[in-house]
Symmetry: C2
Subunit: 306 residues, 2 copies
Amino acid sequence: MIDKLIEKIQKLHAPVVVGLDPDLAFIPDFIQRRAFSQYGETPEGAAQAIWTFNKAIIDAVCDLVPAVKPQSAMYEQFGISGEIIFDRTIRYCHEKGLIVIGDVKRGDIGNTSAAYARGHLGPVQIGTSQFNGFDEDFVTVNPYMGSDSVLPFTETAEKSGKGIFVLVKTSNPSSADFQDRLVDGRPLFELVADKVNEWGSGSIGQYGFSEVGAVVGATWPKQAARARELMPHTFFLVPGYGAQGATAQDLKPNFNEDGLGAIVNSSRGIIAAYKKEKYAKYGEQNFADASRAAVLDMIEDINSVL
Amino acid sequence: MIDKLIEKIQKLHAPVVVGLDPDLAFIPDFIQRRAFSQYGETPEGAAQAIWTFNKAIIDAVCDLVPAVKPQSAMYEQFGISGEIIFDRTIRYCHEKGLIVIGDVKRGDIGNTSAAYARGHLGPVQIGTSQFNGFDEDFVTVNPYMGSDSVLPFTETAEKSGKGIFVLVKTSNPSSADFQDRLVDGRPLFELVADKVNEWGSGSIGQYGFSEVGAVVGATWPKQAARARELMPHTFFLVPGYGAQGATAQDLKPNFNEDGLGAIVNSSRGIIAAYKKEKYAKYGEQNFADASRAAVLDMIEDINSVL
């Protein structure tokens, strides 16, 4: 799946992923009102609003970007109603030819990680039949529990022709609490980076990158440079651009000199673009056009430093 | 919620939680066959089998134990059909008076962790109304991303009168990969333990324990003793007993001298007890009676060392 992602990035000249994190606060009032009038102020109503919102944004950006990244939490918060829309969003993105990175940050002891892996990278065996639960192409994985919590994901990914991104150095301020603490003189995230190399060593594709990617925040350019050095065969999923404060210049260390090696996420900056002064001219009704414009600007911004 | 948990443990003399991890391999053939004949070999069929299985076990053990711990992955693997049963299981356990520990091991950047927290410890605001998504009493939280990824859980828990258990030293073999690495001469899990103290310092209840508990594996008695020392106000959720190899003797360091301070999980050892030679006499048809017998034995075994 990493080869497919790289080919799409190259074809579109767009190392960009749109984060589908549909907080209700980002969804235009008119959409919420319409959904609530039909389903009430209920989880079903919220889910309907999210679906209308997501679909319009997907339609508006699907020819511009290789991938989307739905954030599990934003759906899970509405219980079953939210999960139904998480699932529908994934399926619709596939119909539109988008690669789907499920931002689920799962990880558990071996047999439990295996169940998560089946659930998101499929398939699951039921009697003599096989099914996909949530059918993403990549998922994010939390490494705190160590190798035997990550390997069930790499094994399932390999069988299904899919991939993962392991949290290495996350974009949030408190990532320093543990990830930057020194072990034998090296920050913990570097030890995780070494493991990512190891976990991915058996799945290096034709462009030199493995199916085991790394999440490396754009908000830490110095650490990103080090991570890039330590993981030459690892593709980076880079959060933190835009709303979290990182600029295009900050992103440079995440990429190789040839401009490959990373894909940059923006969630709020794209899906809630209509709320920003820069895109206010589109108006709330045309929020998806604002998102499209924001994607085009983001692609141009990032390409300007590569 | 920690006070309520402690009171239930004391009333029942049972520091035991039953892990509801319904792998299909644990579910008796006759239940699977019946579910598949009604719904086919489909996710709906698997979910129906899980529900029948869970309900029988809950009915059989609900007067013996204070709490259950459904493992999200085992439901998530069947997509929406599985999530529906995860939700139904939680609701049914509440009807039966059980405390529910959602083993979800979530954690993300601030606003995303807040959405997970709302989704599992509720409520979520929809227009002028409030709803609970998945309505657990506690959830497990992964600390790799640091304070700002955990605090949204403690804040939501406080508002909802609920609690969390933070992964400190997990039961799996590879937990040594990162959790045991030395930072300034101390294993990483001890740094996490210090943070758990800090995160829980504002929520210490009438029995001296905070709403921020810790997951400390029974498979590492030495580390458990150290964790117990470092976190005097922290209640431990202890996995690893039974199927993962830890014995009652191994559990002792997780408890205080007064026998308080921890609750021990068993999943497979209880729910799949009918498959063990010791409980084979019950037969597959009476799997829930075997589970009840296994719970009684586990309670006796643990109390024998306290």
